[in-house]
């Protein structure tokens, strides 16, 4: 059983990454109502295994691995029928051209568009699968390398690279849709009607 000095050590290691763990859980869980429970489960699991943690090694990476496993387990219980359609690789050239054109419009003034979208930026993550989200968030927010992400998710590095790339592409597609909906850019169909 861990002593009080172990509890102190554990909390000191946990404190610097508490916000990162929280926002990762908040952004990667399908249901936001699960965030606190998942965090608690992950932290208590880590605490129960703290005697197995090798002091001096990367606590943050270790903690994220435990959190990832908990997120995956919880997300798996929730059926996401939308995910099938989103992951389908239906090739529609006109659709792709329209998306690319809309995205180029966004890129003309990305700061203005991103600022205008504000909270809807977060909603864009809904398009990603659990693995795509995990890879993208670990890379973008937590600055883990592809190699570290591959170790945490038990995936080949090339797969991680693909997931991050696909996540970026899907996000940009979604952001282009949102920008059109908000009237921040014009769609190609609007242009062709004029």
């Amino acid at each position: 059983m861990s002593s009080y000095s172990d509890a102190d050590s554990f909390i000191r290691l946990l404190e610097p990454c508490r916000d990162a763990l929280y926002r990762f859980a908040a952004r990667s869980l399908w249901r936001k109502s699960h965030v606190n429970d998942v965090l608690q489960e992950a932290v208590m699991t880590a605490w129960s295994q703290f005697d197995r943690f090798e002091r001096g090694t990367n606590f943050r990476a270790w903690m994220f691995t435990i959190l990832l496993n908990t997120v995956y387990r919880v997300n798996r219980k929730i059926h996401r029928s939308r995910e099938v359609a989103l992951d389908s690789d239906v090739f529609d050239p006109e659709h792709l051209i329209e998306k690319e054109t809309a995205w180029l419009s966004v890129l003309e003034d990305p700061d203005r568009v991103m600022q205008s979208l504000d909270d809807r930026l977060v909603a864009a993550l809904d398009r990603l699968s659990t693995t795509e989200r995990a890879c993208f968030l670990l890379r973008l927010l937590e600055d883990f390398s592809y190699k570290e992400i591959a170790e945490q998710l038990d995936l080949p590095m090339g797969t991680v690279m693909s997931h991050v790339y696909r996540a970026r592409m899907k996000l940009r597609e979604r952001l282009a849709d949102l920008a059109i909906e908000e009237g921040l850019v014009r769609s190609t169909s609007e242009d062709s009607q004029e």
Binding site: A7, R23, P110, D111, D118, D119, Y146, V164
Partner: protein, 280 residues
């Protein structure tokens, strides 16, 4: 090695952005961006999209109550065997706290028994039974509060009472104690057997009860009685350290006010250090 085309460059922009390409590919992409204005500009704009996403997604912070709850659970000890038949004794003992006074006030007392000794830091032999009793008594400590109040409000109550009773302003600086999930359960005026008023404070630290007493008059017989109660418990003579569930008591003096504390939590020293007392 031929020059990279724009389409080829665009294939690699994502891992390039993440600095995940090998040296050769990194060089090729860098070279293309150096010579191709449109690709360089597009890459810069794509990077700004990533930066904006990162800034938005990093806005979340773990709420303070979630963090406090986690720390509380981590600090929570293993449950110990309860001894319910000792509960009345525990409550009585919990009301008896160490009080002493400033040296000049003690000397004014006529009774030799009431004359206080010089203030020293004291430790009572840890007692496992008393620890479990105090822990069991904790829900009752909370039940003593007639109303829910926040920490700051209770500190304000303590300050008002101490100005009235002791002529001193007392506060508790909790900066640095957040990880211990400190709860201010109750503060009230008490009267000991000799009819002397003192202030009793009840806190929870990582769910352990912490009892504090504030006074400026010495009551040596109260200290003796408290220790006698502890020593009468079946598990007397349990060896230290406090971490195994024993009781610790300490006494400090600050600006003529004596503060005594008793708890089975190992952070009594930090709590006492956080108490600020000024004469008014």
């Amino acid at each position: 090695m031929g020059r990279m085309t724009c389409n080829e460059c665009r294939r690699w922009w994502s891992p390039y952005l993440d600095s995940e390409l090998d040296a050769t590919k990194t060089f090729e992409v860098s070279e293309h961006l150096r010579v191709c204005g449109p690709c360089r500009e597009r890459f810069e704009r794509e990077k700004r999209v990533d930066d904006a996403l990162r800034e938005k997604l990093c806005e979340d912070r773990m709420p303070a109550d979630v963090w406090a709850g986690l720390c509380s659970r981590i600090c929570r000890p293993q449950p110990v065997v309860r001894m319910p038949w000792l509960r009345p004794l525990a409550i009585a003992a919990s009301l008896v706290l160490v009080v002493t006074a400033g040296g000049l006030v003690y000397r004014q007392m006529t009774s030799t028994a009431d004359r206080a000794k010089d203030v020293t830091i004291t430790n009572v032999t840890p007692n496992v039974a008393m620890a479990s009793l105090l822990r069991d008594a904790s829900p009752q400590l909370a039940a003593f509060t007639g109303e829910e109040k926040g920490f700051a409000e209770r500190v304000a109550d303590l300050d008002l009472l101490s100005r009235d009773l002791l002529g001193a302003s007392i506060s508790i600086d909790v900066a640095g104690l957040e990880r211990y999930h400190l709860e201010f359960v109750d503060v009230r005026k008490r009267t000991d057997k000799s009819g002397t008023d003192y202030i009793e404070v009840r806190l929870n630290c990582c769910n352990y009860p912490v009892l504090l007493a504030f006074s400026e008059r010495g009551h040596e017989h109260v200290i003796a009685e408290f220790r006698e109660v502890c020593n009468r418990c079946p598990s007397q003579g349990c060896p230290p350290p406090v971490k195994d569930g024993g009781i610790e008591t300490r006494t400090i003096e600050r600006n003529g006010v004596i503060v005594a504390g008793a708890t089975n939590d190992p952070h009594l020293g930090e709590i006492l250090a956080a108490i600020q007392i000024d004469r008014v």
